[in-house]
Structures are given as structure tokens and as C-alpha cells.
């Protein structure tokens, strides 16, 4: 079930109505939301509901055991086992094929060719997200930041809550579980914020990202050698806009749906292409993942406590694994490497002076775009062709139209909007009467529905 479809719209209106009808019965309300989450997930492939249930129940059971045990080597062993189970599930479904393929190639290179047991494994949607939430549950309990006595219902709802289930934001146990202890109440301001975020997300995904993807990014990245320099240059800028508008749209809609249901998720994007450094970029891009990696990987590795060499090592490990989290391919690993190197170089150079901030912004954006080429390309050969194709900027333009150039400029222009504009607008909207809100919402909806192309491509981050 995709967010920008009428199927989801009908589903969400039904869930919203029943959820608020049960606002005096927190237990029944949570049961309803859990059932709705499994319907939502089962819409893709109902067989994976069992995997989701297993992951949730296993994490809840491990959490109970860990929380009840005093600090001891046995407790540490249980924590390692719990994390290993989570990573084992992720590793099997996401990395098994990649691992076997590369082992086979490595053995062939040294003359040890073997028939390895290769399986066609379907990647369950959202597995990277809910596995990380499971690990967050275990570690938050270990650190005493989340209550290990959470009921099975709460733990299952935390891991499978449908707005964030398949593409984040990655919600922390310590943030979400306390919200489940009593039936939520709602304010007009939260409703306004939810409605605005949903409409804003629909616009970014259905209009900007879809037009740019089908108009320029997909054809140019399919055969980069056949297009001239201008097309290739704008296809990279286009992809930078597309992935931002696509992924931030999913996060906005998820945060908006949760807000309408009375729950709060953290912001996941904060105008990332305004970043004046890579450190700044990672404070603005996929914030829930970058903070997850910081708190559960970088800091436990030692963070920046052990001198320059150890800090850079920790940084590189974090970024390489962060890259690999996106997909089982070497291109993602090198994407992580580029970001890790950029962060390490930035650390070595020290903080940028304010006078150079615009230059820093341009440099950061273009290095990010360079890394996006690897991220978007299916393999190194395509990325290499993209970067080295012989055509020059003087070659005729084939796919870039004034309309597409305008959409790319519009997508980048979103970063020039007031950073907290949505919040200000939500505050103002909450003072209006409901017919006025409904009228404005419907005008915006018809506008988006009329402008969007027919059919909706899945979100980019579904594949992760």
C-alpha cells in the first residue's frame, strides 16, 4: 500500500475514524492500530507478516530478559545474542545473495571455484528500518532509557506502527513507548501540522519527484553514454532533487499520519542542501538514521574520544556500514566511503570560516551530487560511463526541457523557504474554523491530483 494512492487514503481515513472513536480505550485503540499495521504490511506480501511478528516478539522477549537481569557477563551475552538475531535476520534477507556472490568470485580468482548455495531471496519491505528499531529497543532497555516491562502489545506496535514501518523515520523505543502508556489527546495545532505535512509530502513526491524521475533521471541513468553533458549534469541535479523530494515526502507523510493519530515522531529532514559542511549535511539528511548510527555505532566504537586516528577509523566504519545499510552493493559501500572521507577531511581542515560559507555550501552540494551518481547507478561501470562519457557540454540537449529544468530549480528552491514555515503555517491554520481548513485542504489536494502524472512509482527507500 503506497502512501500517495487512494487505497491508502481510504485505509487511513477508516483507521483515523476508528482510532479516535476508541480514544477512551487505550488498549483497544492500540490493538486496532496493530491490526491496521499488519493489514498495511500484508498488503505487499502477507507472508512477511510472520517475519515482522517474529522480530517483534523476539525483541520483546529479549527486552524482558535483559531488563530483569543484573549487570553480568550473562546479561552481556544475552544482549549480544539479541543484536545478533536482529542482524542475522537482516543479513540473511538483505546480504546473503551479495555475500555468496562475492565469495564465489573471490574463490574463482584464486582458482578455487565452488558451487555455492545460491538462493533467490525476496527482500521484505522495510526490513532495514524495523530491524534497526528492534536493536534500538534492546539497547535502550540495556541503557535503562526504555522500560523493559512494556507489554507485548506495546512492543509489537512500536516495531510495526504503520506510518513508519516501511521507510522510517527510525523511531526510538525511548521516544515512542512512553507515548503508548495512555490514550493520546489531540490539539488543533497537531492536526494542522499533520494535514500540512501530508499535503506537502504528496506534492513533493507526486509532482516534483515523479516528473523529474520519469522525465530525465531514469532515461539518463539507464544509458548515460547516449546523452550529452547538459543532460547528464541536470540528471544528477535532478536525482539530488528527486531523492530528497521522494524520501523527505515519505517522512513528512509518516510524521503527518502519526500526528493525526496523536503520536509524535521526530523530524527526519531539515533542508539538507543548505548544509555548509558534511557534518551539517548529516544533521539535516535522514536525521533518524544518522543519529541512530551516531548513538548505537559511532559512540560505542569510541566516538571522538581516542585521538585523530581512532576518530577517523570510527567515522569510516560508521559511514561504510551506513552506506551498506542502504543496499547490498559495492556502490553503496563506496558512497559511504566518499561521505566518510569527506567528513574526515573536514575534521582535519577544521571548521569553515563564515566568510566562506557560500563556497562551502556549493562544494558540499556538489560532492554530495558526485556521491549520488554512485548511489543511483546500478554498478560501477554505469557510474564510470556517467562520469567519463565523451560528450561535452556543447552536445545537443535531448531530454532536458524548460519544464524539467524548472522542476529541478523548484526542488532546490524549496531549500530557500523559511526553515520552520510549515510550523508557522500550522499554528495559523489551527485558529481557523474547520470548513476553512477543509476548503484549503481540498484545493491543495485537487491541485496535486491534477498535476501529478498517472501512476505512482514506489518510494526510492522501499528497496532499502
Amino acid at each position: 500500500m503506497l502512501f500517495p494512492t487512494l487505497t491508502f487514503g481510504i485505509f487511513f481515513v477508516l483507521v483515523l475514524s476508528f482510532a479516535w472513536a476508541l480514544d477512551r480505550e487505550n488498549g483497544q485503540r492500540k490493538l486496532l492500530l496493530l491490526a491496521a499495521s499488519y493489514v498495511f504490511y500484508g498488503w505487499w506480501d502477507w507472508r512477511f507478516c510472520a517475519l515482522l511478528a517474529f522480530s517483534s516478539i523476539a525483541n520483546w522477549a529479549f527486552g524482558r530478559i535483559i531488563g530483569a537481569m543484573p549487570a553480568s557477563p550473562l546479561r552481556a551475552l544475552v544482549i549480544v545474542l539479541a543484536i545478533a538475531v536482529n542482524l542475522g535476520i537482516l543479513g540473511f534477507f538483505k546480504y546473503y545473495g551479495f555475500f555468496i556472490e562475492n565469495v564465489g568470485e573471490a574463490l574463482a580468482m584464486i582458482g578455487w571455484e565452488r558451487d555455492l548455495f545460491l538462493m533467490q531471496i525476496i527482500l521484505p519491505v522495510g526490513i532495514s528500518f524495523y530491524t534497526f528499531q528492534g536493536i534500538s529497543y534492546i539497547i535502550d532497555i540495556k541503557r535503562g532509557e526504555a522500560d523493559h516491562r512494556a507489554s507485548l502489545l506495546d512492543a509489537m506496535l512500536y516495531i510495526s506502527f504503520f506510518p513508519q514501518l516501511v521507510a522510517g523515520p527510525i523511531v526510538r523505543a525511548k521516544d515512542f513507548l512512553p507515548q503508548l502508556t495512555r490514550a493520546p489527546t489531540i490539539s488543533r495545532a497537531a492536526v494542522s501540522l499533520g494535514v500540512l505535512l501530508i499535503l506537502w509530502g504528496l506534492f513533493k513526491k507526486s509532482v516534483i519527484a515523479s516528473e523529474i524521475a520519469t522525465g530525465i533521471v531514469d532515461p539518463v541513468f539507464f544509458a548515460p553514454g547516449e546523452y550529452g553533458g547538459i543532460d547528464r549534469l541536470f540528471a544528477v541535479y535532478g536525482y539530488a532533487v528527486q531523492i530528497y523530494c521522494d524520501f523527505s515526502a515519505y517522512s513528512d507523510i509518516a510524521i503527518g499520519c502519526a500526528a493525526l493519530l496523536g503520536y509524535r515522531f521526530n523530524r527526519n529532514f531539515d533542508q539538507p542542501y543548505r548544509a555548509r559542511s558534511f557534518q551539517d549535511f548529516w544533521r539535516r539528511w535522514h536525521i533518524s538514521l544518522s543519529t541512530w548510527l551516531r548513538d548505537y555505532l559511532y559512540k560505542p566504537l569510541g566516538g571522538s574520544r581516542g585521538g585523530a586516528l581512532a576518530t577517523n577509523r570510527n567515522l569510516m566504519i560508521t559511514m561504510l556500514l551506513g552506506g551498506l545499510w542502504h543496499g547490498a552493493a559495492w556502490t553503496f559501500l563506496v558512497w559511504g566511503l566518499i561521505h566518510g572521507l569527506a567528513l574526515a577531511i573536514e575534521r582535519a581542515l577544521g571548521p569553515a570560516r563564515s566568510g566562506r560559507s557560500v563556497i562551502s555550501l556549493v562544494i558540499t552540494f556538489h560532492v554530495v551530487c558526485l556521491a549520488w551518481i554512485l548511489f543511483r547507478s546500478p554498478d560501477f561501470a554505469t557510474a564510470w560511463t556517467y562520469l567519463t562519457a565523451t560528450q561535452t557540454l556543447g552536445d545537443p540537449v535531448q531530454v532536458l526541457t524548460p519544464f524539467l529544468a524548472g522542476m529541478i530549480v523548484l526542488g532546490l528552491g524549496l531549500h530557500a523557504l523559511p526553515p520552520r514555515g510549515i510550523e508557522s503555517l500550522a499554528g495559523a491554520m489551527s485558529r481557523l474554523r474547520s470548513p476553512a481548513i477543509a476548503g484549503m485542504g481540498v484545493v491543495a489536494f485537487i491541485l496535486i491530483d491534477a498535476l501529478r502524472p498517472a501512476g505512482v512509482a514506489p518510494f526510492i527507500y522501499f528497496q532499502f
Binding site: 487505497t7 500550522a426 477543509a438 485537487i446 498517472a454
Partner: protein
């Protein structure tokens, strides 16, 4: 929960149960009215959704019912804003670089 003062204040839940009930009613009224307005001004979206789904008794019933409704709304010109918007958007997409140059050249002359 990360500090986000601009959003935090929007999430402040009302302590008063009556205030919560009023907000809930405000939300319910808004949703009901939005559905009504979409049905009047944009029934084509429901029709397209039904047409895109595998046909069965329910989907076909929705498609045929909404089709008739959509046609009636069209006869009353209530779909005019949407049609106007779609046409302008198509015109914008069809603009090529030659058209842009021509407009620039004409402006210079």
C-alpha cells in the same frame, strides 16, 4: 525525543478533556467536509482508482456509480477548475527550448 521548539509547541496536548473533544470534533468535521468537497469537485480521482484496480463486484460498482456521478458533476461544470489546471500543466510541459528562445528573441525585438 530531540528538542525541536517549533514543533514541540504544536504537539502540546490539551489537559482539559473538553478541549480534546473540541479538537476531535474539529478534526472529524474537517475530514467529513473534505470528503464531501472531493466527491463534488474531484470524483474523477475515485473513478481512476476504481479503473486501476482488478475488477470485481465492489470495484465495478464503485466505478460505475462514480462514473455517473462524475459525469453529472461535469455537466454542471464543477470539474472546470481541474480541467483548466490539467490543460495549463500540459501546455507547460510541451514548451521546448525553441519556444523559449523565440519568446526571448521577440522580447529583444
Amino acid at each position: 525525543m530531540q528538542d525541536d521548539p517549533h514543533r514541540d509547541r504544536l504537539y502540546e496536548a490539551p489537559d482539559d478533556a473538553r478541549e480534546h473533544q473540541r479538537s476531535r470534533l474539529w478534526l472529524s468535521n474537517g475530514v467529513a467536509l473534505s470528503l464531501l468537497l472531493v466527491a463534488v469537485f474531484n470524483p474523477v480521482s475515485l473513478e481512476r482508482w476504481a479503473a486501476a484496480n482488478p475488477p470485481n463486484w465492489g470495484v465495478e460498482t464503485v466505478r460505475l456509480t462514480v462514473g455517473v456521478w462524475s459525469e453529472r458533476m461535469g455537466l454542471a461544470h464543477l470539474d472546470a477548475p481541474r480541467l483548466w489546471l490539467e490543460q495549463r500543466w500540459r501546455d507547460l510541459k510541451a514548451v521546448g527550448w525553441d519556444d523559449v528562445h523565440t519568446e526571448d528573441d521577440e522580447a529583444e525585438q
